[in-house]
Symmetry: C2
Subunit: 362 residues, 2 copies
């Protein structure tokens, strides 16, 4: 007998969650203020349109996937509407939602906030993906009145869709995402905004570094305005640190331009070294250690079928790739495949490929 | 009869260039203050160790690939040492090198500055790659005394290794790279430095966005200290713009935390929208238009050989991929292959794959 989860809000996260839960055998019902968005989610396999007379009765768990600025109100409404259900939300900020829920006077023991660390620079049901949560962190943020049963059910939802659960209080979550998500968003947007009025030949010099730094600058301004506003204090705190460092760099560069610069090179170097140290702490994909995979680079002739041949050769050798990226030179006779494998497989892979005539790179 | 190019400095750029020029049939001779680095470059196929009695006589072109802070001195020395050769350098800043060369009093008509827009977050000969310059922009920056013949030869070097030549004055180059390369580096380093003292559970929430924003924060502090110092005025100018925008965001967040915030949401939204507009101007890989490729996403079962089968099916259908990225969910039964093709090929590809039983994504 399948279990009933109600998803309220069928944007990117709600629809993806519906798809993942449906695939896992849950009975998912969908609602959204926009009937069109809701039907699109249904067509994508996220679940069924909600009705008052669902054969399974009221939901066991309600997931509020509404925009951050209405999440608390929808959580409160849901707690009242379904007096037995556990309610969670997936908003990117947790303390303000919790404060608003507690302030409403509703019995909040059935509420547990959560935040799947999964998103894309695109939004809406059309961008949804069943595997959006695969291997991502999913923060579960109980408050002091959350019942153990409520925490258990929310953890189960996160686990079922493939996420790695991290339990932490709302405040701690908000401070963490200020540094690892919200301030990086501001930095990307601000750096990208400097390109807006640049002459065309200058923009033409853009390389992969700039593309990577600014990729998330393509994110939805409406959503991010709400996120930044909802986590204002914590984001401001980290931004003040960023600004202080930029001030130091500006001062160092200023003293260099007037020919002084005692200590200026040291200041620049310290900033860059601090960046090295911070960057080295970032875990790899799926929470793996930063250097968990070894990369083998192989030249791939630019003709249909050659990459297939490479992968067949790998498969024949019994080597499973963890990740792969292909770089393709414009008008060049070959591309380069960067193949990530577990470290122990790197040398056997390199030897096998070389013996089969593939040309390694690097 | 092959032509003689001398590469002075066998780090990442010099070694890669030697490999590419040797592959193109040039006679490349190498020198470096470090005999070990020089021999490593030779072993990698970058050319031969320089001797005083080269069978081809003095070089036709000298490429100075020394660190930025000694580039000008090595250019001047090279112009004096080889009175017939054209000399170029590949430093990331061009105006200070040019100023120093002109100030030396040497006849600078045989000097033309240049800057291949190619780099990696790794440095040194060991990271060199023959295709480093493939499809990248290569700025050629003549000055008013550069002879047409010198400009022609430097353009030829850039073109032969697969780069797209962009001619612009040194000052214009420096202003451009301040915005598209140097300030993004500072932003990445500063954002990454905020992670240095973060609690472990917080760093564990890092996602792909943070990884992308901070990838280049792993770059060499010694090299980047020189680059930033060498382009101090232009970098400072763009950084002042960045700081002004961060000030606005800090102010907006501050007014929100004290419950006011009139206009604060507007300020946040404007910053994010400006980021959208700037990001949209960045050309795609190899200078292609930002939206030149269409992406088809396909579920790929997580077993050896399945990706090969996918690519064989694509090859059979006569469709050539431009780029591919594979995302692999931890412990999940499938990954997702993101296949970039020319837009006209996207629909036929999707139809073909669907008809063959592949499950599309998105």
């Amino acid at each position: 007998m399948s279990r009933h989860v109600r998803v309220v809000g069928t944007g990117l996260i709600g629809t993806s969650l519906g798809m993942a839960l449906s695939a896992a055998g849950f009975h998912v019902t969908l609602e959204d203020p926009s009937p069109t968005a809701c039907r699109l989610a249904r067509d994508l396999g996220a679940g069924q349109l909600a009705t008052d007379l669902d054969p399974l009765g009221p939901p066991e768990v309600v997931v509020v996937a509404a925009p951050p600025d209405v999440a608390a109100a929808v959580v409160v409404e849901s707690l009242r509407r379904w007096p037995e259900a556990v309610v969670t939300d997936v908003a990117s900020v947790k303390q303000t939602v919790l404060d608003d829920v507690l302030r409403s006077g509703v019995d909040a023991s059935r509420y547990v906030g959560s935040h799947p660390m999964a998103g894309r620079e695109r939004s809406g049901a059309a961008a949804a993906r069943r595997d959006l949560f695969d291997g991502r962190a999913w923060v579960v943020a109980p408050h002091e009145h959350s019942s153990p049963e409520a925490v258990r059910l929310v953890r189960e939802i996160a686990t079922v869709v493939g996420s790695a659960v991290r339990v932490m209080p709302a405040r701690e979550h908000d401070e963490a995402v200020a540094a690892v998500s919200h301030v990086p968003q501001v930095a990307a947007s601000v750096v990208a905004s400097c390109l807006r009025d640049l002459p065309e030949p200058a923009v033409g010099l853009a390389g992969q570094g700039l593309r990577d730094v600014t990729r998330i600058a393509a994110s939805d301004p409406r959503l991010w305005t709400q996120i930044l506003a909802g986590n204002a204090a914590a984001v401001r705190e980290v931004l003040l640190h960023v600004r202080a460092q930029i001030d130091e760099v500006v001062d160092a560069l200023g003293s260099l331009t007037v020919g002084e610069g005692e200590g200026a090179l040291g200041a620049l170097s310290r900033m860059l070294e601090a960046g090295n140290l911070g960057q080295a702490r970032i875990p790899g994909k799926h929470g793996a250690a930063p250097t968990a995979y070894a990369v083998v680079s192989v030249l791939v002739p630019d003709e249909p079928g050659s990459l297939a041949r490479l992968l067949t050769d790998m498969g024949d050798a019994g080597i499973n790739l963890e990740d792969m990226h292909l770089e393709h030179g414009l008008g060049q006779p070959f591309g380069v495949a960067y193949i990530s494998v577990v470290p122990a497989a790197a040398e056997p892979l390199a030897e096998t490929l070389t013996s089969l005539g593939w040309q390694l790179h690097d």
